[in-house]
Symmetry: C2
Subunit: 222 residues, 2 copies
């Protein structure tokens, strides 16, 4: 019981800071995307495919969250975009406080309109921690099994879009894509579902178009 | 700082209960295996392949840990073995307390000598929580990327064996298996590494032989 109260307090505090981050982004017209997934579902690869397609149109920066190493940040730095690594040590998710500390760095990059935040690879804990993002995108590899939305409901119910990634592996697995979509929509009927492959490039244009559409939508609403 | 102290207290308490579980298992000659991985790496499939090969030789029971649903437990019940589902709700890992509550049920199954515990799919949090198991086995799908041991070091350093699973997908990914092994052994030079595929059956006999060897080794030591 005591543990639950502590968790509630931590989450309440996180929610407060997330609101501040959200106001910060809104005032400066920064669209923030929180990308979440299991380890190895392809978050970094998606970003690697996205950057060349949009970097001439939008001013972007990336925050990389990892327990250890700066391997992912180094993969992205080669595109000549600003990348900041957060190493969480044992912490299994990014939290709003991590992000609030990076906001001065975001401002230093001048005119950032899209901030991509790659969370720690974990399908459980990041679901509970609002970062103040504009949208949350969950990536799921078709190698993971079509039952995942039912087994990890919080991450699917809290996301705006689902990328069914590594779609090129579909024929080599027992993954039932219709079942996966049905399961995902059962948990969250508002989920926008896209199919992507970073190996073949399938669906990457559609994903970038979706992202740009969301950014425009956010501007119109603002 | 306050949060870190709370975490230390929780882990210390978990460690105490894990020691009690370990004594319980040792006194009753129960070999307990804690299987950990990302969501969808193939933990349940590995157990499905293991059970038919060993259930005539050893008396086994399975504990299934999931956030939600009893889908995995139902997959295993069809083998006619005792299976207990633990649904953790929001908790991102099994802990020693969860297991201690199940011990009376384990005794009721009469003469269990192998207890397989499938943890919640998560490569971060389960690393910190000793359940009192005899060995810990981490499963990693080759679809996840060969850099995972470096990026999620705690789960690899705390495990006794690594199953590189879905090895049938190897030719369809950019996964470098030698690099993956090198990375895993860099984190934990004592890790026994096996390659498995639940689709083709490759490596399952070797895995079962390893498991039986570990059980015999534990008996000899006892």
């Amino acid at each position: 019981m005591h543990e639950i109260l502590i968790e509630e307090k931590i989450l309440a505090k996180n929610g407060e800071i997330a609101s501040e981050n959200r106001s910060f982004f809104k005032e400066r017209k920064i669209f923030a995307v929180n990308i979440v997934s299991s380890p190895g579902a392809g978050k970094t690869a998606i970003i690697e495919k996205t950057v060349p397609l949009i970097k001439d149109k939008v001013n972007l920066a990336v925050i990389e969250g990892d327990l250890a190493t700066d391997l992912d940040a180094r993969r992205l730095l080669k595109f000549g975009i600003p990348v900041k690594q957060i190493t969480t040590g044992k912490a299994c998710h990014l939290d709003a406080h991590n992000i609030s500390h990076i906001l001065p760095w975001v401002l230093e990059q001048k005119g950032v309109s899209l901030l991509i935040i790659e969370n720690v690879g974990n399908m459980v804990c990041p679901a509970e921690y609002d970062l103040g993002e504009s949208i949350r995108v969950v990536v799921m590899s078709v190698a993971e099994g079509d039952d995942k939305p039912l087994k990890y409901p919080a991450i699917f119910s809290s996301s705006d879009a689902l990328l069914l990634n590594k779609i090129d592996l579909l024929g080599h697995t027992d993954f039932d894509i219709d079942k996966a979509k049905e399961n995902a929509l059962k948990i969250n009927p508002y989920l926008k579902i896209l199919e992507t492959s970073c190996r073949t490039g399938e669906g990457i244009n559609e994903w970038c178009a979706f992202l740009e559409g969301e950014m425009t939508g956010a501007e119109v609403k603002a």
